[in-house]
């Protein structure tokens, strides 16, 4: 066997070892074989380093959305960009530079520390996080990611060797994702999947729509049937939120057959962008938002800008045991603006009293009714 043939063999074997070792579970016997193979020749070592570089290059590749897979068996292209990815228009995205890696790593490290100090570290595997009215929680996940869970929210965390998947069944949550490109972080709401590598973003499920807001980094929002029946689209829309979420959950499991007809559309969002995906999978245009403002709920602040009193009351009621109600249709429709602490409905009531002529009544359980003065 000449040198070039040895090299060719080494390339092949290195690729095989790489794929095996990437798969996760590797037996002791296999590791022994691997070490022996490495110690056989420096060419083996060199090829192992090169395959890692190939892998690193693929991770940094930014034009996947343009890669055609036409002619791949009977399965059609499963990723169809809905919008032109934003990074094709400008300079290359900086997030894959080593500096960014380091930054992300340190952010993740800080989050880990925070998690250790204040949160709860849960060994989550198919674990459910559920909050009641008035209950907000910050939960540290096993990989160092942190989730801020809003009231009346239900999440199902399914961590596997290769993926970190969170199914949002209802409510909303803000995710600070610990960077790990080998283990993508996926948030799934029914048929919509949000994929992040290391970033902060929020997902909200409300009235059969999914709202995704990005605070940092970049995420991909994929919408498409995860499982396929003969005509699933209408059926999906008619199911209730809960059961649809369960379906999405079930569909997320591996080995579910998928028909050739599946199509996934994808939107790329970067920091300070938001998109709403309606039940049928129709996405609005990507909006530019001030994410700090839009996501202020995660910090316990409620910001209203020309929102109706009724809507503000509804928001407060999600965060508090003391329930507010407005006993006057005209007052309920009045627009208000202001910044409030979500856990302080009294300050909101005081604010209303200062801008409108109202009576405030409290019942025995401290619930508050606001009435207009006739």
């Amino acid at each position: 066997m000449d040198a070039s043939e040895r090299r060719r063999r080494a390339v092949e074997e290195a690729a095989e070892w790489w794929v095996l070792l990437q798969g996760g579970e590797v037996s002791r016997k296999e590791r022994e074989n691997y070490v022996d193979w490495l110690r056989e020749s420096s060419v083996h070592v060199a090829e192992m380093l090169r395959v890692a570089q190939v892998h690193g290059a693929l991770e940094k590749f930014e034009r996947w959305s343009q890669v055609s897979t036409d002619g791949s068996g009977d399965a059609p292209s499963t990723v169809v960009p809905l919008t032109t990815p934003t990074h094709t228009t400008g300079s290359p995205l900086p997030k894959y530079t080593p500096r960014q890696w380091r930054l992300a790593a340190s952010v993740a490290a800080v989050l880990l520390v925070i998690a250790g100090l204040t949160g709860l570290l849960l060994a989550l595997r198919g674990q459910v996080i559920e909050t009641q009215r008035g209950e907000r929680r910050q939960v540290a996940l096993a990989d160092g990611s942190v989730v801020q869970v809003d009231p009346q929210t239900r999440l199902n965390v399914q961590y596997e060797a290769r993926t970190r998947r969170v199914v949002l069944e209802r409510g909303r949550a803000l995710f600070h994702v610990a960077k790990n490109p080998e283990r993508p972080f996926l948030v799934q709401v029914r048929d919509t999947t949000v994929r992040a590598v290391g970033t902060a973003f929020a997902v909200e499920e409300a009235d059969h729509t999914v709202v995704v807001t990005v605070a940092e980094g970049r995420v991909a929002v994929l919408h498409g049937p995860v499982t396929e029946g003969p005509s699933p689209a209408t059926a999906r829309e008619e199911t209730t939120t809960a059961s649809a979420a369960m379906r999405a959950d079930k569909a997320a499991r591996p080995n579910e057959p998928r028909s050739a007809g599946s199509a996934v559309s994808e939107i790329i969002l970067t920091a300070n962008q938001q998109v709403t995906v309606a039940g049928a999978g129709t996405a609005e245009l990507v909006r530019e938002v001030d994410s700090a403002r839009v996501l202020s709920w995660a910090e316990g602040r409620l910001i209203f800008e020309n929102e109706s009193v009724e809507r503000a009351v509804r928001e407060f009621n999600r965060y508090n045991r003391i329930q507010l109600s407005v006993n006057d249709a005209a007052l309920a429709q009045r627009p208000i603006s202001g910044v409030f602490s979500a856990s302080d409905p009294e300050s909101f009531v005081a604010f209303i009293q200062s801008v409108a002529a109202v009576h405030v009544k409290r019942n025995e359980s401290d619930d508050i009714t606001i009435e207009a003065v006739k």
Binding site: L38, A46, V54, G56, V67, T69, G71, E160, T163, S343
Partner: protein, 184 residues
């Protein structure tokens, strides 16, 4: 209102139970280490790593072979980069950092690498491309990829092995090195 946070001391061992995670960090370090492994030096780095692997106890290596491999490689690369700095006059790169010239070059190199990967991917079969796309872009697990493409997991693995082999041959080692030695 909000329940007080439960104080639980984190068990660092838990996060490390997945041994795969253990070599992610050394690998990352190897791939991003400052001044890491110019392509022409990679074989030399490998030779040095090889010698170090021989000096280590086999039993020790077997626990986390990949972690050892990439840790050694990034150490050797770092040592060599240090040595290289003594040999070279420091001025050019120092000036480059000040003027931003390096950054421009970096971006050009970055785009060039993107072009090269794009070209190299075209040499794969559509199915191999799709498997890679589903792994790196859609973030699916191998099981999920197999399910979606109606393939066995074995076939997915096969497609990955073949893809890495072809890309290794296609991607010019210079640009791969450039992809890994970006500035900090």
């Amino acid at each position: 209102m909000a329940r007080p946070p439960l104080m639980t001391s984190p068990d660092p061992r838990y996060r490390l139970t997945d041994w795969f995670l253990k070599w992610r960090v050394p690998l990352r370090k190897f791939l991003t280490a400052k001044g890491a492994v110019p392509a022409s030096d990679l074989d030399d780095v490998a030779q040095e790593v090889f010698l170090r692997l021989m000096r280590y106890g086999r039993t020790e290596l077997i626990e986390h072979p990949q972690a050892y491999l990439y840790k050694m490689a990034s150490n050797v690369a770092a040592e060599w980069a240090l040595r290289g700095r003594y040999l070279r006059s420091p001025e050019p790169s120092w000036l480059g950092a000040v003027t931003g010239a390096e950054e421009v070059e970096d971006q050009a190199g970055h785009m060039e690498l993107q072009d090269q990967i794009e070209q190299a991917l075209l040499t794969l079969t559509p199915q191999q491309r799709e498997v890679l796309k589903l792994q790196f872009y859609a973030g699916l697990s191998r099981t999920e990829i197999a399910g979606r493409l109606n393939l066995s997991e074995r076939s997915v693995k096969r497609a990955l092995v073949k893809s890495y082999e072809k890309l290794r041959a296609r991607l010019n080692t210079e640009s791969l090195a450039r992809s890994s030695d970006g500035r900090e």
